[in-house]
């Protein structure tokens, strides 16, 4: 004797349930109490069991469709029994389901390319009803956390989404477009009732440029392959300022700036300290008789280090001119690779930006780099009293693998002497 099972009424306000999953195929034997179907309301999932032992004769609704409560859901009986009298009005006369039941909502979602719900929420995490709600209300979660699911195993139910939709801040259309563009929303919305506005979306993550990637690699290598440390000292900058003032006051002389002068002094110092005008590669020190000076240069594309070849052969004026040429090329982006390689020592100046002390990073295989800092007033004891002098800070980074503290300090002392005697070194 065939018996039918109705769609249960799972709540006062529930008028229809969604057929989430059929566990049995028509023709399958079923025993009393065995689960035949999973159905869902907007708040809960529910298992429908067989009331008797027998064979599943018919299923009246497909997976993913809505069935009104109290409608006959399936029939269990003896094979061959007629089930037509149980068929609810409007149910298709077909007992065999499609071979591969595909949730209708998912199909619809994939048909609507602008609603990436299916992609945002993997099947199984979200109930078909929830999926339908999301689709109808245009909910997407790209860049935002999904709501917590209250269903079994954290499964997101329709009610969870409804709660979120009506209680949480909306996202403005412009903000939604920025999200689709890859921007990420964080914190709280700044619009009316907490609405997320376009201005709340941070800039989308962006791949760094090729040159930036190269800088990143070199900086990492620098730290990974050396034992660098920095010594800091200062030199009386009175001479530098005096020379600079003379240059400014004269006409027809090259416009040599403080950085050029310090670089020039450093080159003179390097001629006396060949250990630092060197490269350290594979356990071998390569000292250089010639000074090819690299100088850090801030460009729109990032840090570049142009190189003045045979800088020791240049006068201060010639050095300054060459540095200006190379800087212009670097800034314009038409500097050749040759002009960016082969340095034996590097100078980096952040003093013009007001930096008082920093730790320059080595450009391996070079063994030293000089950081030039800002000129500041410094109190010194002189004769019986205190005097204020202009003082320029110097930060020398060295590779401790080959240069110990004392020789490093001695070299820094030589640079200081050169700087303090710059008037004698370069005549304008």
């Amino acid at each position: 004797m065939a018996v039918s099972v109705e769609v249960p009424k799972l709540g006062n306000t529930v008028e229809e349930c969604l057929i989430a999953k059929w566990r049995k195929q028509p023709g399958d034997p079923v025993s009393e109490g065995e689960i035949v179907a999973d159905i869902e309301t907007d708040k809960a999932t529910f298992e429908v069991t067989s009331p008797a032992n027998g064979t599943l004769l018919a299923r009246f609704f497909d997976e993913g469709t809505l069935a009104p409560v109290f409608a006959n859901l399936f029939v269990v009986g003896e094979p061959g029994e007629n089930v037509d009298s149980f068929r609810p009005p409007g149910a298709p006369e077909r007992s065999a389901p499609p071979a591969e039941a595909k949730p209708a909502a998912a199909a619809a979602a994939s048909a609507r390319a602008e609603t990436p719900v299916a992609a945002a929420a993997p099947a199984g995490q979200m109930s078909p009803r929830a999926r339908r709600f999301a689709e109808r209300h245009g909910l997407t979660w790209s860049g935002m956390p999904m709501p917590a699911g209250s269903g079994p195993g954290g499964r997101i139910l329709e009610d969870d989404l409804r709660q979120q939709y009506y209680s949480s801040p909306r996202v403005s259309s412009a903000a939604r477009m920025r999200l689709a563009d890859g921007a990420v929303l964080g914190g709280e919305g700044s619009g009316a009732a907490g609405m997320f506005l376009a201005s709340d979306a941070g800039a989308p993550a962006r791949r760094i440029s090729g040159i930036r990637e190269k800088i990143a690699l070199r900086m990492r290598e620098s730290l990974a392959s050396t034992a660098q440390y920095t010594l800091t000292a200062s030199a009386n900058a009175g001479g530098l300022l005096l020379v600079r003032a003379k240059i400014k006051a004269s006409t027809g002389v090259p416009d040599i700036n403080i950085n050029d002068l310090v670089t020039f002094c450093t080159i003179q110092a390097l001629l006396e300290a060949p250990d630092l005008n060197a490269e350290f590669r594979d356990g071998t020190i390569h000292r250089h008789a010639d000074v090819h000076i690299g100088f850090a240069c801030d460009t729109p594309r990032g840090l570049m280090v142009p190189v003045v070849r045979n800088a020791h052969r240049l006068s201060a004026g010639e050095l300054s001119l060459r540095m200006k040429e190379l800087t212009a090329k670097a800034v314009q982006g038409n500097i050749s690779v040759d002009d960016l390689s082969g340095a034996t020592f590097t100078v980096s100046n952040l003093g013009s930006l007001g930096i008082e002390s920093f730790t320059p990073l080595l450009n391996p295989p070079q063994v030293a780099i000089l950081g030039v800092n800002a000129i500041q007033l410094k109190a010194v004891r002189r004769n019986a009293g205190i005097e204020f002098i202009d003082s320029i800070g110097l930060s020398l980074t060295l590779d401790h693998q080959v240069i110990d503290g004392a020789p490093g300090a001695r070299f820094l002392k030589v640079i200081r002497e050169k700087i303090e005697n710059v008037e004698k070194l370069c005549t304008i």
């Binding site: 909306r170 403005s172 259309s173 412009a174 477009m177 920025r178 619009g191 009316a192 376009a198």
Partner: protein, 447 residues
């Protein structure tokens, strides 16, 4: 001990006081003059009642064009003033009743802050956890010799006029000057406006203000732009024109409409270290001043100087002081100039977008695309301009000139506030036939 003392009973102060009282807080509202502040007594409301009368008068004189023949029509200034007083009284009573129902205690007198939690009124001292300064602003007095003389009216004293002047000289072509220019002109006076800048309605979208200039000129208002008023002597105004040439003009009414200055004097702000300058008390977007427990809203902060901005600022301050996070966003505060035609706007102007380097699209349609506008106007001058982001077409600004625009600008404000894109806004149905359809057409025109 009060939870909140509000100083100043204008639209910033009284709304904030009522809001706090409705939250169950013990609130006192101190006012030295009249309930309702500038807006109700010598600002928005009186000006609009005057403009209502002048518009009606003007329409009566134009009635024949609409097929209505009238006998002689007269402008009865005393009756206009009487009506204005009646309207103001009704609204003031309304505010009074509203405050009473909300449970706000009203105090009369000049308040002086004597601590971050204490206010002196006369010889009485009142204490509160929070103090909200909402003392508004007063007409600015620029350094022009003679401008302080009794013969020069300002936007406070002009409402005491008991007769219509024959000739009116208005110093200042901002929204105050323009509204009075419109009133006096429609009422039948000869009006000249002297503006220091090369454009009128400074801060408005230039395309709109140029259009307005053109329309008002056509109506017969005289404009002197880039004109510097040098001195006022009795009924004579001395000025240097755009070319620098000095000239003089006489008028039996001279109106100083050069803007408004925050009312910060006499409050004791210096004594307790509240940070303020000539542009007003500095506040955060939560309404906080630099002194904990002291808040400010409205014209006294010198920010937007609009009644509805003051109201919102006051409510934002109250929400924050009692633990509800809120902040004011100035970008979507609409502004209206109640001339005929009206000017209504919200959001970015085209000049602001250019200056900020924001890429945008614009769409401009004549108001006459709306059938209703044509129905209402024999001379259908006006336009609606929509500015939208170049990439997403989010609506950034809406600027309109034409009667009726003040009533539909709030729809545009919602669009700007919620960053609606043109595609979303295009799905909104506008009632037909209304002037607002011009906004719809302008939105659809963004490509």
């Amino acid at each position: 001990m009060y939870d909140l003392i509000v100083v100043g009973a204008g639209p910033g102060g009284y709304e904030a006081a009522a809001h706090a009282a409705r939250m169950g807080k013990k609130v006192a509202l101190i006012e030295k003059e009249r309930l309702g502040g500038t807006c109700l007594n010598v600002g928005c409301i009186p000006a609009k009642t005057f403009l209502r009368s002048s518009k009606l008068f003007h329409e009566c004189r134009e009635a024949a064009a609409y097929g209505v023949r009238l006998g002689s029509v007269e402008f009865d200034m005393p009756a206009v003033v009487e009506r204005k007083n009646r309207v103001v009284k009704t609204l003031t009573k309304g505010v009074e009743g509203m405050l009473k129902r909300a449970g706000v205690e009203s105090l009369q007198g000049q308040a002086r802050l004597i601590g971050r939690n204490a206010v002196q009124v006369g010889d009485r001292r009142y204490e509160a956890s929070h103090i909200l300064i909402a003392t508004g602003s007063r007409p600015a007095v620029p350094p022009i010799p003679g401008i302080r003389s009794g013969s020069v009216f300002d936007s406070d004293t002009v409402f005491t006029l008991d007769h219509l002047p024959r000739e009116v000289a208005i110093i200042g072509g901002g929204y105050i000057g323009l509204e009075f220019a419109c009133f006096f002109h429609e009422a039948g006076a000869k009006v000249a406006v002297y503006e220091m800048l090369p454009q009128i309605a400074a801060g408005s979208d230039t395309e709109i203000s140029s259009r307005m200039l053109q329309i008002l000129k056509r109506q017969g208002v005289e404009f002197h732009l880039s004109a510097k008023v040098l001195a006022v002597e009795g009924d004579t105004i001395h000025y240097a024109g755009a070319d620098g040439a000095k000239a003089s003009a006489t008028a039996d009414c001279i109106l100083n409409a050069t803007g408004r200055t925050p009312s910060v004097a006499g409050l004791g702000l210096e004594d307790i270290g509240v940070d303020f300058g000539p542009r007003g008390i500095r506040t955060s977007e939560q309404g906080k001043t630099n002194v904990a427990g002291i808040w400010a809203c409205g014209d006294v902060t010198g920010r937007r100087m609009l009644a509805h901005a003051a109201t919102r600022e006051g409510i934002v301050a109250v929400n924050n002081m009692f633990g509800h996070k809120d902040r004011i966003r100035y970008r979507a505060i609409p502004a209206v100039i109640y001339t005929h035609p009206e000017v209504a706007s919200v959001g970015w102007t085209e000049e602001e977008l250019k200056q900020a380097g924001v890429e945008y699209r614009k769409s401009v349609v004549p108001m006459a695309v709306a059938g209703r506008f044509l129905v209402e106007h024999e001379d259908p001058a006006g336009m609606v301009k929509v500015l939208a982001g170049a990439r997403f077409h989010e609506i950034l600004g809406v600027h309109a000139i034409g009667d009726g625009s003040s009533e539909f600008i709030v729809a545009a404000a919602v669009m700007v506030e919620t960053e609606m894109c043109v595609a979303d806004a295009s799905e909104i149905v506008f009632p037909h036939p209304t002037v607002s359809e011009a906004l719809r057409e302008a939105i659809l025109g963004v490509h």
